[in-house]
């Protein structure tokens, strides 16, 4: 089988991560923010897989599984919160939540 440079895999992960970050930073719609977060989580999972295949180990996949679980739980809770927010404020605009201001 042909070989893929590790750094390319990692750079792919980094690129995805950065894109997700831009999403988190720029979107005002909270659903988009959550989606962008998913992208970031996914990117970090990718980095684990890359690292795992560099060494030919299975641990990376285990970690990915953990991240996956985390993402699932996070999305469930996050979406629940979004629903609550929408009920209370009738918007998905994240700026409305700035009442948290200390």
């Amino acid at each position: 089988m042909a070989s893929i440079p590790v750094e390319h895999g990692l750079i792919l992960a980094a690129l995805l991560f950065a894109l997700g970050l831009i999403g988190v930073l720029t979107r005002r719609n909270i659903v988009f923010v959550l989606m962008s977060l998913e992208v970031m989580l996914n990117a970090s999972g990718l980095a684990f897989i890359v690292a795992a295949s560099r060494w030919g180990h299975a641990e990376g996949q285990v970690m990915f599984l953990m991240i996956l679980t985390l993402a699932a739980a996070e999305v469930a809770v996050g979406l629940g919160l979004i629903i609550q927010m929408y009920r209370r404020f009738h918007t998905v605009d994240i700026n409305v939540l700035s009442q948290m201001k200390g």
Binding site: L21, V24, L25, T26, R28, V33, I94, N95, L97, S98, Q99, M100, K101, G102
Partner: protein, 616 residues
């Protein structure tokens, strides 16, 4: 009976306590009985003790009632020490004190705070007796502060008028300056000599310190500080004239007869210490001389009857200091006694005048009162004669002795003598100026008032008249106190000197007669030149000392107090608080509540950390 000496201060103290505890609920009769009676009892006991003591022939008698405090070597007791000096003092205080109390029962009759007055007076007498009978300096200090306190309370007795309060505070604080110096003196004496018992201390000083040693100089200077404060000598004399704000019997008792002579007593008591520091002793003489001259000048310019007497008191105490300075201790104490007689007489006479004329103080608004106020006139005449040292009155003997003492001294003695004689000339002028202006000439106002002098007021005056006239014949038993070691060298005083001392006061009286009685010379002419005017103003203000102190001490203190009312140090802590608040405000501004802003800052942090990681 000598053991019962503790009863002396106890009677007035009991009087004080009972008057305070009943807090003005007693009828005035009862107050008068308690107030004057307690002092009378004291005098009785004092007289008996004095008789026994003299009969016993001992030099001294000590009794310790209880140990006050005992800390290491420091163990002053509540102990009384009786010798010739304290004997004389205790008799003067309780005797003259009793007469003045008696007088006060009439004088203060219309005052609503009758009971308060007598309670303070009793406390004063108790403290004063404590002062003169104390066997150690700490107990003496107790009496010393106690009389100062009573002086404060009584000067400010009529508290509604803020000016009285001011005078009272001025008196207390000024003397407190002296007291502090004295307290430091006590610390020094104890640290160096290990005891504050007066006799032990003097003995130790005599054996440990050579004449003129620095420690002796320091100690005696510090004690002198206390003495000049209490006795209103230069440079702390400014409080006494203002102290006349109190009721007149107070001025007689505290500010003429007893308390102000405490300084004289202190120096006489510790004269051995002063002899170890000859320069300081000479300083005492010069202080006395300068004070007596300055006060003499000022007394000639005053209008207020009590202020004239106040300055004359300052001046007469100057004589006593002069006497102490030249080593004529017994003469000083003798003068102290005669002064107590005639000055009490003068003040009480002045009280009668003032009371009769409805609190008129200005002598130029009186005049020709000798018919209207016969008892007061007699008091003033006799008192002024004694004050001016008219031959064979009491004042003549005592002042004469002081001046002779000055003559006997080598070196500057002749100058001190000359100054003292000049002072006597002024005394003649101002004392008879008062008599002539008030009692002779034509009556200017207050034509109808009757003299207010009931039995209780007249009796003390008459007794004091007798004492002022013949008190000079009393011989005081103080030789054993002052003539320790060394034969007293007899000097021959020429008849010329004697003649001068007799004639000069008479000259003064004569000058006063020419100005104020026969009007041969006119004050107006004398006052016409601007120099005379400014001099008059200068003397009238007491040589500008008040203004000087106001400028030097009071104003800076007030200024410092005012600018720092809110405690600068607190602003340091407020500064910390303000800084924290500002920082908090800055950081809180980052808390926008915008999720994206938070994420941005997180990213910023990550970027920064990674940067550092890459660079370092």
């Amino acid at each position: 009976m000598l053991d019962l000496i503790w009863l002396l201060p106890t009677f007035p103290l009991l009087g004080f306590l009972s008057l305070v505890l009943t807090s003005g609920n007693l009828p005035k009769k009862a107050v008068a009985v308690i107030g004057a009676g307690s002092i009378g009892m004291s005098f009785l006991v004092a007289a008996i003790i004095a008789a026994q003591f003299i009969a016993s022939g001992d030099d001294y008698f000590v009794i310790e009632v209880w140990t006050w405090m005992s800390v290491g070597e420091f163990s002053p007791g509540f102990a009384f020490y009786l010798d010739g000096l304290s004997l004389v003092m205790m008799l003067i205080i309780s005797g003259v004190g009793f007469l003045i109390h008696l007088y006060s029962t009439g004088f203060m009759l219309d005052d609503p705070s009758y009971s308060r007055f007598f309670s303070y007076m009793n406390l004063f007498v108790a403290s004063m007796l404590m002062l003169v009978l104390a066997d150690n300096l700490v107990l003496l200090y107790l009496g010393w502060e106690g009389v100062g306190l009573c002086s404060y309370l009584l000067i400010g007795f009529w508290y509604e008028n803020p000016a009285n309060g001011y005078a009272a505070r001025k008196a207390f604080i000024t003397t407190r300056v002296g007291d502090t110096s004295m307290a430091i003196g006590l610390f020094l004496l104890f640290t160096q000599l290990g005891t504050l018992n007066i006799q032990d201390m003097l003995h130790a000083a005599e054996t440990q310190w050579p004449v003129g040693s620095g420690l002796a100089v320091a100690a005696s200077l510090l004690l002198l500080g206390g003495a000049v404060g209490k006795s209103a000598q230069l440079p702390l004399q400014t409080w006494l004239p203002d102290a006349m704000a109190g009721p007149t019997p107070i001025s007689a008792l505290i500010h003429a007869a007893t308390m102000v002579t405490a300084g004289v007593y202190l120096i006489a008591r510790t004269h051995i210490l002063f002899e170890l520091a000859p320069n300081v002793q000479l300083l005492v003489a010069w202080i006395g001389l300068i004070t007596l001259l300055m006060a003499g000048f000022t007394a000639m310019t005053q209008h207020d009857i009590k202020r004239i007497l106040a300055y004359s008191t300052v001046s007469q105490i100057g004589y006593m200091f002069l006497g102490l300075g030249v080593g004529a201790y017994s003469a000083s104490v003798f003068h102290l006694m005669t002064h107590a007689f005639f000055k009490a007489l003068l003040f009480l006479g002045a009280g009668t005048v003032i009371l009769s004329l409805h609190h008129e103080h200005d002598i130029f608004k009186m005049g020709g009162k000798r018919k209207q106020l016969p008892i007061a006139f007699a008091s003033f005449l006799i008192g002024s004669l004694a004050l001016a040292a008219f031959p064979f009155t009491s004042g003549y003997f005592s002042k004469d002795e002081i001046l002779i003492g000055a003559l006997e001294m080598d070196g500057p003695g002749i100058w001190l003598w000359a100054g003292g004689v000049l002072g006597a000339f002024f005394t003649g002028i101002y004392s008879f100026r008062l008599v002539f202006v008030v009692f002779f000439g034509e009556s200017k106002a207050h034509h109808d008032e009757k003299e207010v002098a009931g039995f209780s007021m007249a009796t003390p005056l008459i007794i004091l008249m007798v004492l002022a006239l013949f008190g000079g014949l009393i011989s005081i038993p103080v030789d054993s106190v002052f003539n320790h070691g060394g034969e007293h060298e007899e000097h021959h005083i020429s008849a010329l000197m004697h003649g001068i001392m007799i004639v000069v006061p008479l000259l003064g009286i004569g000058v006063s007669y020419l100005f104020y009685m026969s009007k041969t010379f006119s004050i107006e002419n004398l006052m016409s030149s601007s120099l005379a005017k400014s001099l008059h103003k200068f003397w009238f203000s007491g040589w500008g000392m008040d203004a000087l102190y106001q400028f030097l001490f009071v104003n800076p203190f007030l200024f410092l107090a005012r600018i720092n009312k809110n405690d600068l140090i607190d602003s340091f802590y407020s500064g910390i608080v303000a800084l924290t608040r500002t920082a908090n405000g800055l950081v809180a501004r980052a808390q926008t509540g915008q999720l994206r802003w938070y994420v941005m800052t997180v990213i910023g942090g990550v970027v920064l950390i990674v940067c550092l990681g890459v660079l370092l």
